[in-house]
Symmetry: D2
Subunit: 338 residues, 4 copies
């Protein structure tokens, strides 16, 4: 950490800061510049409270040198983590495809969708049984009944089931049926939930919060990893910006950035990331080209009658075409669709 | 709701949309413009799935006329709600002052702070016992022990205790000690938690999520109100924007806006909203002048040794001065500090 | 336009609004809902001042049905516009590649870069002669001398020259040397400049402002088109968001969105869009896959000695590899690199 | 400047960076930490190209210690600058009030408004003669005719005239009529324009760009100051965020922040900052309380017939009431309204 003193700070103030740095078990190093004094604190300060220096007399600002996450870091483990559930693989050259409806609505709906997305080449089936909805008056999901229908769809198709868990109390239940537990964007910083899935034997897909920085995203993953669960997939699903022609703004540059910082696989959710079905196919192609480790796409047999997220769901026909284009790009780049 | 057809949509497509509107139990009204056809859907469509029209053939966009929240709305209840806990009042001309440390750290720390903020004029004491922290390696709070210390501080000073509850499982416990339950910004859309505090007999302070729109904020309040708990205070604590010289961007215009839409009281958190102690006093004064219903301010007897949020905590001396200025403004405007 | 009345608005207020709509030369249509009255204004209201209705007594909000841009709209001209300068083509299936340094620095620098990017497959050469710099103390460009060096580079390589013009007064000068005039992001709403290049016989590349909405972007293009210059290329170069690990956030979904709304070609600037050279190659690949009409990439023979934007410039070697990958994707998708 | 090396960087790479630091005329200081090497560059590096170090082999990131602006800095001049034009004073305890219509529309409109705002206590009159409009089809202002009407209004009322100049070519003309030249938000980084007004003998009001950081804002002021014009007023008018219930998000914390960094006065524009007349009065009161140096408010005798910005203009009656409340707050705080 680097601590920058104000121009008008006295030599004593800088020395007091240095004393506090030493008291934390770090080495301090004072540098007297022409205009400012700077104190370098040397050592692993990840678990130190670096902010408190901002309140010391004479301090202008504190700059962190070391990112706070550690287990998630490529500096800790350099080879890419491959997350696998049944035939679905993400990471290390595998591009996993998860598709399905926003919500599980009925047995015919989920089974039909499962067959169609499997035929188109997906290896994972998404479908919400517990639905976090902005309004208390919206459909809240089929709950355990929905989980059973997902399991039936796996039974028939062999697709790995990816479904959301919303509260620590439900982790055991969802874990019983799902192959991958999804943490939704609104729960990215629900720390009790992160810890609960961290103790669970199934892989976890962690969605980025709509206003989470990359460091916050990786620290949320760190909460899970820190409990012992190493099978974590990150999912970029768009951030909230001033743009209103899309539901969120989907920053694909997160993929090469995260690949440079973490060994965990990163997948893209172009459905929530754009919010409009007509923008999804091009963003699926771009997800393969940017070398994401997979994608999660909303597909519904009849979007205009979907109980949630109809506007962003692909029809099976469009999904089929999209997969063909993704395969061509994957082949050109030596990526394996899974 | 207004449904706008694409320019190239056929008359049949518009009629099909109208049929679906009627099937929802609403009246439809087709308007054929020079370039576009528009369908007005008449009736209370708050609990209808309005998004699904976006997937109908020929539809360009859907515009909502009615906001989705209802119990929170000024159209449902026009007179302002006053939320009270012991001597702390917020709303209806009362400006409630809640002050205290970010975290409860020890008995002397919380008792000393309680005495000081009480002497300066506060009627509420804040202090985190369960702390949501971005990093798993940061101090996570004293937990139940912290709640007991808060209760002891109330015992001595008469201040109302405001403290955070992070997970549904803890609601009963926190409810036992606290006078007002705080839902943190990261949990604004933790729906199981909102429902749990909605069933609780204590008032709830709901903080705005860092990327929540006003409608999402009011719908989160609606989750609580819908369970029967009518004592809800909204807290504006800043939103995430591109600005980096402050921790968040604190939009005080939320106050007159929310006052125009809801009867619930709205308070300001200038500590999280700015992140730097030197910006807090001016924003406290502005909170009174903008006619907020209160403020929540971080105060610590020794900010540079605080276990969390030291950078944004006021010293007792600065808090005292800030309260004097707030009182002058309140007096000039006929507002009662509480 | 749809005008929504407040719940408490009287019938007379709605009728007064209707009268004003008629006075504007539009037809009005009143719809009395259960809770709200809505007035539909029928006719081309693009050139009407729609905002002023917000100030009429009883009005809650005004929703636009028609976008304000017209010449840029796909509803006016459906076939894609192809912008061409020498061998560089953008639009209608052509993916144009423009590469080169941020700034023209010297004759050897620009000539060497021109040869290298030409050899790698680019058909356009970028290079700033007039440089808009955030700080008055930064290098401001070689000015006319720089333009002459760009012309010399074209002479030798046949590459089309793309360079920025910053002020109306320089339009004639830049037009003399450049093949495509670039309007920088900071000048996207410099209307005198837009009008000046609108009268110019050369194509214009218009960069999106860092906080411009899509409608503002297309209206800026409309300023140019409205002066008679139909050769306009849009360039998405990233928006300002809370993200700080990239210089800007680069939303590739702009490409399919803009393709659905306008016939103008859309290219991507992954260098400014990310700000870090290590993120650029993956975003180039994604730009091809998302079916943009081209890209503009910063390449410098020695980035660590560049006079500006070194951090985001590719070395010639990395650019070469990037082009090979882009070609593979283009071939797989039937796109022609130009 | 602090240069942080990557974990895997070699000692030689760090030494090469140090050599380059020295070659720039700065002193270098290497610090070998447990995990990272850090190089401190000592000396005034404001006018050095600090970004280029990011391209050096082994460099992870570069952190600036010194802000790039200098003349604008409080470290250069500590006492507050007071900007004065006729009786209008901003800064140093004076809160200047500028009011008037968005656009000059006619002689009776501007004269009537001038009389009314003067009677209510304003000392400055705003009014656009050259109007930057998002759409080429909107009213573009009365141009020189509008300037003459403003001069006539000054003649009659003694109010100082504040009006916008949009392009360098018009600076002399506007300077002839105006008392303060306004640079609009869209032109904050129009550097030729900044330099042109920097050579002008009249004070300049510089509005913050909708996505400008504080450093960019102060560097834009620096462009003006650097030409010799020391009479610069900063105007916070809101930033673009995800919020859509207001036109922009108005961060009042800019006031104490800017006061800590610069000696220049800072005023608030609550009209553009919110976009809705019903939110303006509360934000005017808050502007006084936050200790801004003034405000600029849109007032129109008949907002629902205004030619621009009607939705955000106060009626003279509401402006009058707003001024009474501002005066009460000012009196309570010892601020002088001017």
């Amino acid at each position: 950490m680097i601590i920058v003193m104000r121009q008008d700070a006295s030599r004593e103030m800088a020395q007091e800061v240095a004393r506090r740095v030493e008291a934390m078990g770090l080495k301090s190093h004072l540098i007297f510049g022409e205009e400012r004094t700077v104190i370098a604190a040397i050592g692993d300060d990840r678990r130190k409270d670096r902010e408190k220096f901002e309140s010391c007399p004479g301090v202008d600002s504190v700059m962190k040198v070391l990112a706070e996450y550690k287990i998630a870091s490529r500096e800790t483990k350099n080879e890419p983590t491959v997350v696998q559930a049944l035939d679905l693989k993400m990471g290390g050259g595998y591009f996993g495809v998860i598709a399905g409806p926003c919500s599980v609505e009925s047995e015919p709906q989920i089974l039909e969708t499962a067959r169609l997305v499997k035929a188109a080449g997906a290896h994972g089936l998404r479908g919400g049984a517990f639905k976090p909805r902005t309004s208390p008056y919206s459909f809240q999901g089929m709950k355990e009944e929905g989980l059973k229908l997902l399991a039936a769809a796996r039974e028939e198709t062999g697709l790995a089931i990816v479904t959301e868990v919303m509260t620590p109390h439900h982790v055991d239940l969802v874990c019983e049926y799902a192959d991958i537990l999804q943490i939704g964007a609104r729960n990215m910083q629900n720390y009790h939930l992160l810890q609960a899935v961290g103790e669970c034997p199934k892989p976890v897909m962690l969605k980025r919060g709509a206003s989470a920085t990359m460091e916050e995203f990786l620290l949320a993953a760190e909460y899970i990893l820190d409990q012992g669960n190493q099978q974590v997939v990150l999912c970029e699903r768009g951030i909230r910006t001033f743009e209103s022609h899309t539901r969120f703004t989907l920053p694909l540059a997160s993929v090469p950035y995260l690949h440079s910082k973490t060994h965990l696989p990163i997948i893209i959710d172009p459905s929530h990331g754009t919010g409009h079905a007509n923008l999804v196919p091009a963003m699926c192609s771009a997800s393969v080209a940017v070398r994401a480790d997979g994608m999660m796409v909303e597909v519904h047999p009849d979007p205009s009658n979907a109980m949630s997220d109809g506007a962003q769901s692909l029809t099976p026909t469009v999904f089929e075409q999209t997969m063909r284009e993704c395969e061509q790009i994957a082949r050109a780049l030596g990526i394996t669709l899974s």
